[in-house]
Subunit: 468 residues, 2 copies
């Protein structure tokens, strides 16, 4: 897949995910098939979040005075905020921001909600649209002006230890989700100059895209007490003393959909992990005039057996030749295709095709076993898709021990390059500029020797790449 | 419930539905319990819509040029539209509207999607936030500036007959939903001066609230070809001739939640229809120190049996006295409360309390029958709640045959008053002004005699009320 950008643009249209012809740049329409994929992804995520978190919904508009309260935070967003200045034909007394992210809409309310240590922890999340006035080139699902699918979790804790635990919890949730979706990732701690504005530190998930650049697909922020101090989120502890609360937030977006499309797609089109596929199984009856009823009775029964077992199943009875149907459902990425013709029924077989491997298998048909065969196959597809994409990310990650190989490797092979680094901000920014790359972050590692760039003592394993 | 306004305001807070202290007037936060009710309501609605419609998601911002295209439509909204005029620190080239409703964001895309009669019908819906710059007094869920839960269906058809059918379909869907929620309603055809701006006609659902005023809870609009002409939505028919498409849209909002709260609430607090209750059953173990294990083993088993059967069940094991728990869960409106103490277990009983009737019943406990007993009880609660509220609406609807009784009846009894009317706009507006009421609309009926107001020939049965 050499021309990834073109492929990506085309597949969104062909597989009916997104229509990007909306008359505002960077804003697109979710089409029915895309919407189902999005919904299934969110269901998978919410299943994980709901174990300890509760869903809420905050207003979309934020008063300028609230947004401006946390100075470092607003500085990080002020060039990207859309402002509502008029209501009807009148000017508003105070400008209202379309939320770029929701800290400043949520935390004034948290301040009201938190009184005593009994009120803690608070663990909530919401899925909303957020807005960024992007001046760079926009790209559907990846760099947009309306992020239509921003899932953000916000928590408040009594102690820094609990906040640390929540950071780990957030990382675990995202790891589980990305594993289920077969999205490969590398986790690192973002450098000081690229952490979330106002946070103590940011942990980030990056995926290596088919063109070798990395895409940030999820972030987890330890906010410390910065926002608690700004928004006066305090609790009375057991000794009746007022303490600032410790906060964590984490989020992901439409980019997760972009990532799963990019991770698995191929020349045949989309390839959907079973957990998000609108149809996990497509049944194609091979119909000839004379024995139409025999085949359709069989496939109708099969369809209802699979549906009753909770497998998302569709039957394509359209009057088209089978080859055209195969092509279309492969393009749409359905994990399993079942073909049933009159001879198959005579032989007691069905034909099972896997989208991931392209394998075609004759299965002895038995109403009692078909559900478990399909479920096992779906599980195997999930696992194989994950293994394949994890291997890809691993293969595209290179450790180098000569400075000259940093730029060379990235320019030639793409992916992520790691090397020993001092951890110094000035040195880091020089590296970014010299090689025209980004420092993704650092990973804990036992590092010996000196910084590849400045030759001071190395303390970190640093990860660099070209980024989206 | 004499002071409905005060009761309504308090219950939203007490039952943890909404927090209305957000620092922008008319915008509120959905709390976890409220969010679950909202989600369950939307699930019920989507189950009905999904039979023939597909979910989509359109951008929230609309270019001024698109919003302005349909002149009558924009006139209906221009005083209420919020405008984004700035991106970052710059002025935008073109102002962007926060959608007040989505016709003008969707229909330019429909124009691209519809080419031939083969592309029709289109039947889509979305659940989004919309915005109105309300200058009147705001009230949570009822009159707000951010409508957080706007579910809108939009369809495109080849013929006016199909559009008519879709209007009926929309009415049927809303009737089914409101019946499931036990929300009473009266359907009428809005008068010319109160129909949806740009539509051919509007059918509306109104509920009589506890204070006697009516609340509009859903509308279905036949748009004819007005928008198709404005947005150039045409198709090539079988004779290769270009035809304008016929359109229908219908929607409902947060007000459905307000309606179900108002329809069933009482002095004890909220009363939730089983279909939306976050907990359909609350189990209260009556624990004494010495036999704690016996009781908890029993209630844990009961909880898991009910949950496995798909009944939303929660057990309240908090260290509080039972009376306080009863009070709290009644206030929150849980349909069924089950109490289990050590003596009940000895006697092979459980105690089942219904929130709707207040009935308390000892049930002989049997693991094999408990699920069907609970399910039957939930069904019976649904039916009784619906019957009761339907009866209320019926009892509060009065037919009068003297003009003087129109105002008298409404001022004394509230509710809906019906009488014979000529159908003339000027006459209708005079009625509204003279009695300080609103004409809700007309219903098909065989009418004899003359208009109660102008004495011309009566053609309609008209419905009037004080409205929210």
């Amino acid at each position: 897949m050499k021309k990834f950008n073109e492929w990506f643009h085309n597949i969104l249209e062909e597989a009916e995910i997104i229509d990007s012809r909306y008359p505002i740049k960077g804003m697109s329409v979710w089409l029915p098939r895309g919407f189902q994929i999005r919904k299934n992804m969110l269901n998978a995520l919410e299943d994980l979040l709901n174990e300890e978190h509760e869903e809420v919904l905050f207003p979309m508009l934020i008063p300028q005075s609230e947004l401006a309260k946390e100075a470092i935070h607003v500085k990080g967003f002020e060039e990207e905020v859309y402002w509502v200045t008029k209501g009807g034909l009148r000017d508003l007394n105070e400008q209202l921001a379309l939320r770029p992210t929701s800290e400043t809409s949520m935390y004034p309310m948290f301040s009201l909600w938190v009184r005593s240590h009994m009120d803690l922890p608070i663990k909530v999340y919401q899925t909303v649209n957020t807005f960024r006035y992007e001046t760079k080139h926009t790209r559907p699902l990846i760099r947009v002006r309306e992020i239509t699918t921003f899932n953000e979790t916000h928590t408040v804790h009594a102690t820094p230890e609990e906040a640390e635990e929540e950071v780990q919890k957030g990382i675990e949730i995202y790891k589980t989700l990305f594993d289920e979706l077969g999205i490969p990732y590398t986790i690192s701690k973002r450098p000081e100059w690229d952490k979330f504005p106002g946070s103590k530190y940011t942990m980030a998930f990056d995926m290596i895209m088919p063109d070798g650049k990395t895409l940030q697909i999820g972030t987890v922020h330890n906010l410390g007490t910065t926002f608690a101090k700004t928004f006066d989120i305090t609790y009375e502890d057991e000794n009746s003393e007022h303490q600032y609360a410790h906060q964590v937030c984490y989020g992901l977006s439409d980019r997760v959909i972009a990532a799963l499309i990019a991770a698995h797609g191929d020349e045949k089109g989309l390839q959907l992990p079973p957990i998000v596929a609108p149809e996990q199984v497509i049944i194609i009856p091979i119909i000839f005039k004379e024995n139409q009823d025999v085949v359709l009775n069989f496939t109708d029964k099969l369809e209802s057996i699979l549906k009753d077992a909770g497998i998302r199943t569709k039957q394509d009875k359209r009057d088209l030749r089978p080859g055209k149907k195969y092509y279309e459902w492969e393009n749409r990425g359905v994990p399993i295709r079942i073909e049933v013709g009159p001879r198959d029924i005579e032989n007691g077989n069905i034909v099972l095709n896997r989208r991931d491997t392209g394998d075609k298998e004759f299965i002895e048909y038995n109403e009692d076993t078909i559900v478990s065969i399909i479920k096992d196959t779906l599980d195997d597809i999930t696992q194989k898709m994950q293994e394949k994409s994890t291997q890809w990310q691993k293969d595209k990650t290179y450790h180098v021990d000569k400075l000259e190989n940093v730029g060379k490797t990235i320019n030639k092979k793409g992916g992520i390059v790691t090397f020993n680094w001092c951890g110094n901000t000035e040195c880091g920014k020089q590296i970014e500029e010299e090689f025209n790359i980004d420092i993704l972050g650092t990973q804990p590692a036992e590092v010996e020797g000196n910084c590849l760039h400045c030759d001071n003592k190395a303390n970190h394993k640093v990860l660099v790449s070209k980024t989206y």
